[in-house]
Symmetry: C2
Subunit: 407 residues, 2 copies
Amino acid sequence: MSKYKLKCITCEKIYEPDEVEYTCPACGNRMGTLEVIYDYEDIKINREEFSKYESIWQFEKILPIEKDSYRTLLHVGGTPLYDVPKLSEELGLKQLIIKYDGTNPTASYKDRASAIAITKAYEKGYDTIYCASTGNAASSLAGLTAPTKLKTFIFLPASAPIAKISQLFIYGANVIPIDGSYDEAFDISMQIGEEKGWYCRNSAINPYLLEGKKTGALEIAVQNSWNIPDYVLVSVGDGTVISSFYKGFYDFYKLGLIDKIPKIIGVQAEGAAAIKRVYDKGEPFLPDDIETHTIADSISVGKPRDIIKACKYVKASGGYFISVSDKEILNAIYELSLKTGIFGEPAGAAAYAGLKKISGKLKGYKVAIVITGNGLKDVKAIENFVKLKKVKPEINAVREVIEEYEN
Amino acid sequence: MSKYKLKCITCEKIYEPDEVEYTCPACGNRMGTLEVIYDYEDIKINREEFSKYESIWQFEKILPIEKDSYRTLLHVGGTPLYDVPKLSEELGLKQLIIKYDGTNPTASYKDRASAIAITKAYEKGYDTIYCASTGNAASSLAGLTAPTKLKTFIFLPASAPIAKISQLFIYGANVIPIDGSYDEAFDISMQIGEEKGWYCRNSAINPYLLEGKKTGALEIAVQNSWNIPDYVLVSVGDGTVISSFYKGFYDFYKLGLIDKIPKIIGVQAEGAAAIKRVYDKGEPFLPDDIETHTIADSISVGKPRDIIKACKYVKASGGYFISVSDKEILNAIYELSLKTGIFGEPAGAAAYAGLKKISGKLKGYKVAIVITGNGLKDVKAIENFVKLKKVKPEINAVREVIEEYEN
């Protein structure tokens, strides 16, 4: 018997894992995304078995994977959690902790999801895996499949940052750069994937990705010595990462390892706030797509696939959604780097932009923010901060520049 | 009394730490670089106190720092060590392990050295720190000083990869982009630094950097369960990183924690093989500078500052130097990414190029290679591998591309 089951987020029908591959047949791809549910009373687990920097596989007991199946060669997860008392005080918080996933193998949060998807592809006996991606899921899947026997097909907007695209080619993936949006790449990938019978690592469609992503929440609990934040701020595109933060804390809560679930606050780019708009209209939550325009490519999603789960989970947590402008995001990248040395990509730093915006409301609380990707993945976004004025290799020319800096 | 002393690499005179700041006054900056020596019998240490992914500060007992002085906010070190049996077998080795430092906070090995330099700047009461750099030492110093009270001045060739330069500005450093080589930037920085009385984080001049860097060797010992490799291959620019690998294993050996020191093999770019040339001429080792030309910017050093130590230590280990072409380096980046998912920058992947070149000689041995920087730091270097042919967002156009990939 499997240690987990799959449950439709809309009709709540429960399936055995071998009954359904991706989404609830009755409710369809958009409304019928599946949750992975466990029999919590059956799982024997305690706080002492976890350590700070181990990879995601330390959470195997509450991951939907088999005991001896494939595990990534590369060290996924176990990324740092930074306690930043000075910045916390500046913002009037009780504690500010920053989960930084820019040090994952391919430098983004998405490695957590790709790792699980690859394990599932092995368990299910596929020889090819594919995804549509704004860039990070793509480079993550390409990097983590590189040393495996799996063939990998990637559909992404050709406008993705060059660093992310370069990763795909250097990892040897089969790349289909779509001259269009992420949403278009997604729909095309689904059609091709079905025709070909490849394994699908697409956000929300594949129910296991969220389980990989939830390890970020589990790590926050472990790394902050089980001192659970009151609020967690996460940037939001498709809605899977934010849902996974609720689910991670929920699992630990149901297992009796923690005594509360933080309020989850979703931060969207103003030009891509599809989920916020639906959430603010209230229940019943129904998809309502938009056109997007934002520099934060990783969350530039107009047709968010995990919208239902994101809205339901955020509501259950007592949280809400906010949005930030591109200007606020750029300033957040700069300020966060300057004050902490943590350099996030635009979508990564959006959570800090959100925190800056609502810190007045969070005074006195313990707050966690999640920086989902490394700034090195999109240096073009910050080119306005780079003022490269060459100096002649002569001592007097250099002395002049130094003087300017000092005055 | 200080727990360590400083010893000149040439005249072997021993100094107390407060007697001398940088190099041996009698032998000068080039010949008089200093070693940090400990009274090994005085240090109580055992294998059990170390864990796999803790930061470099776990090695505090054998680092030249005070007990309660400044420690970096960011998690330096504790980077992954990958055991790659498939690739090892392909190359005919007994074991191949890969130390990957692309997941350090600023994505290179240099964070290890900057961390110690910053601690020393605090201990010594400086308010400003500076360095000359090919790029990585710079971004590392800028990132790790960002959350401190220290002012930071960076001298680097304006031709450094844009990602490294972007890091400097986003971390708020004072940047002096020299329209010339690293070697010119170095000499100018030394003159300005002396005039200003700033703390110097320049390779070889500052004797503590090597001690920070040696933690990479210590981690290999800990992470490979004290199973010490026969050979370690490291790319070489100034000569400090390679020296630090000898020193790290030497310290553990003198402490009785390991029973041998690996043979250290230095890998230089053909167009910047200044140390190899001197080493091959034999003793006495004397600096002999060259003009450089290589795509591996981080090791593009014509006037290597740690040349004496590098030659003496490599000789003591029983190792040697080899060189690889730019083409071999580019192929190494690609092949390593493809076979492992580890994406190194050019200088980072040079060690793998070296291994490919001499693997015939290493058959049957346990070998470690060190990948010193993240490929995201220089995506321009691999642009020839990136074949971005946009595809219309139409199913038939996509089907055609897929077919091409499949045939």
